[in-house]
């Protein structure tokens, strides 16, 4: 029973004990690293297989459709069929493309998507490596995506891809700032960049304490993954598919996998930073519940992102950048200062949290009021222009 209660950790122990019977110590480490690495690297692929099916079903339901229902029961093998198709599809490289860069980009984008998983805590002590700079690592690895996307767009020698790549420069960079700042707020409250510690210290989920940081992070994360309503990088109705328009076969597949891997990763990071990670009722007593809670919360976040995609139209590039620089960045900066000030109050932590919440709500209120006013002005400016 005890073995079941903390199944994954105990299983890992048994495994290590078993292989260390016949291997020297360093080899055990290497084997474990390789194995752990392999499992985590597969995460984007698993995410794609699961999430494409989920997204098709969810969006199908939103649009009064059934979604896939032909390949296997409820169409659950649809993603596998797609994977096979991508594997055996002809790979077309345009004659005018910059071949080395063109071929490297899909590999690099997958690396960026996979490496994120090294620091995501699925449960207590269930983490690739609890790096002491975990939060910073997430930000740093996230930037690989930017480089890979830029490489793909530039190397394709295609005008749509080029516009997509330029938009990447503006969009991903702009939204990195609010993202970093909102992660910074969490780090400030916790006092550590370890992902494990961040989860441990959330006796109340941070989304309830720091709503501004939470909303800023989610918005920035949507933009960083290039999903609707911020999917300007690939805007299918404008620049067809943006930076990966020239890719086909499995090279396109890696972009696709990276997209869904990133979607899952940012949802997992949102869960870790703001929703209490693997914490939940009885998770302390039965740590095997931890991963379950973690996955449920992550899927909930993903569902919300899919819901947004099925509902909202897309922003325009100027509106989108203005939103990052004129709304999110100032709000995140003010929030950072407020939280820092609240932490210096000589009162118990619960009171500090309450002060933070009040400040956050105030920032939220002011931001929304200002946004509403500017929207009204915009409407007024154009409202009677033709009269």
């Amino acid at each position: 029973m005890d073995y079941i209660r903390d199944f994954f950790i105990n299983f890992a122990h048994s495994w290590t004990t078993w292989i260390s019977g016949g291997l020297p110590g360093w080899a055990v480490t290497v084997v474990n690293f390789l194995l752990g690495g392999l499992i985590l690297v597969m995460m984007p692929v698993i995410a794609t297989l699961a999430l494409t099916w989920m997204e098709r079903k969810v969006i199908g339901r939103i649009q009064n459709r059934l979604g896939p229902n032909r390949v296997g029961p409820w169409g659950i093998f649809q993603a596998i069929a797609d994977a096979v198709k991508m594997l055996i599809k002809e790979d077309i490289i345009p004659d005018r493309a910059d071949r080395p860069v063109f071929n490297l980009a899909p590999i690099l984008i997958f690396v960026g998507a996979a490496m994120l998983w090294a620091v995501i805590p699925f449960g207590r002590r269930m983490i690739g490596q609890d790096l002491n700079i975990g939060a910073l690592y997430v930000v740093a690895i996230g930037s690989i995506t930017t480089v890979a996307v830029l490489m793909a767009g530039w190397a394709s020698n295609n005008k749509f891809a080029l516009i997509g790549a330029f938009r990447v420069v503006a969009q991903l960079l702009s939204y990195e700032i609010p993202m970093v700042l909102s992660i910074g707020v969490v780090v400030l409250v916790v006092g550590s960049m370890r992902m494990g510690t961040i989860v441990e210290s959330q006796w109340v989920p941070f989304c309830l304490v720091l709503p501004v940081a939470f909303i800023t992070y989610v918005l920035a994360a949507i933009a960083e993954t290039g999903r609707a309503p911020f999917d300007l990088l690939e805007a299918d109705s404008e620049i067809v598919a943006g930076y990966f328009v020239e890719y086909s076969g499995l090279k396109f597949g890696w972009f696709y996998i990276a997209e869904y891997g990133n979607l899952m990763a940012v949802s997992a990071i949102t869960t870790t930073l703001f929703l209490g990670g693997w914490r939940g009722p009885f998770a302390g007593a039965a740590p095997v519940l931890g991963p379950l809670y973690f996955i449920i919360k992550t899927v909930l976040v993903i569902f919300v992102l899919m819901w947004i995609r099925g509902t909202l139209p897309r922003f325009r590039i100027d509106q989108m950048l203005a939103f990052a620089w004129k709304v999110l960045v100032p709000a995140a900066l003010v929030n950072l200062l407020w939280v820092a000030a609240a932490l210096k109050l000589p009162v118990p932590q619960a009171v500090q949290y309450a002060v933070m919440l009040v400040g956050n709500l105030a920032i939220l209120g002011v931001t929304l009021t200002l946004l509403g006013q500017s929207a009204k002005q915009h409407a007024k400016r154009h409202g009677l222009a033709g009269a």
């Binding site: 752990g36 594997l87 996979a114 702009s174 910074g184």
Partner: protein, 118 residues
């Protein structure tokens, strides 16, 4: 500590290996029948007019420049945030000053209309 980064290193190698193995597999399986029309640049079915790699509008890079300023700041925020509880009120004052300068910079860029799209 070091073994942690050894793991990241091993992880990176595995992460590079997987897509390469996948592409090699696809290379073995897929058909290879290129022809000039197929390999031409996609532009909605007509031939492209003019060159793609030209001196394009600089507007996008303006944002990249502002980003650099703020990213340096982010690199400063993280160590500050970690050590914050161990520092005194001075840490707060110093951050207020720092952010005030940044906000001033943002405001300057805003007023200069560097944040508007031309």
């Amino acid at each position: 500590m070091l073994s942690q980064y050894a793991f990241i290193g091993v992880f990176a190698i595995v992460a590079f290996a997987l897509p390469i193995i996948g592409l090699l597999m696809a290379w073995l399986l897929r058909p290879k029948k290129p022809n000039p029309a197929k390999n031409s640049t996609y532009e909605c079915g007509v031939e492209t007019i003019g060159d793609t790699w030209v001196q394009f509008k600089a507007q996008y890079y303006l944002y990249a420049l502002i980003f650099v300023v703020f990213d340096v700041e982010a690199a400063f925020v993280f160590p500050w945030a970690v050590a914050y509880n161990k520092l005194g009120v001075y840490a707060l004052v110093e951050m207020v000053l720092f952010v005030a300068i940044l906000l001033g910079g943002l405001l300057y860029a805003w007023r200069k209309q560097a944040l508007d799209w031309h």
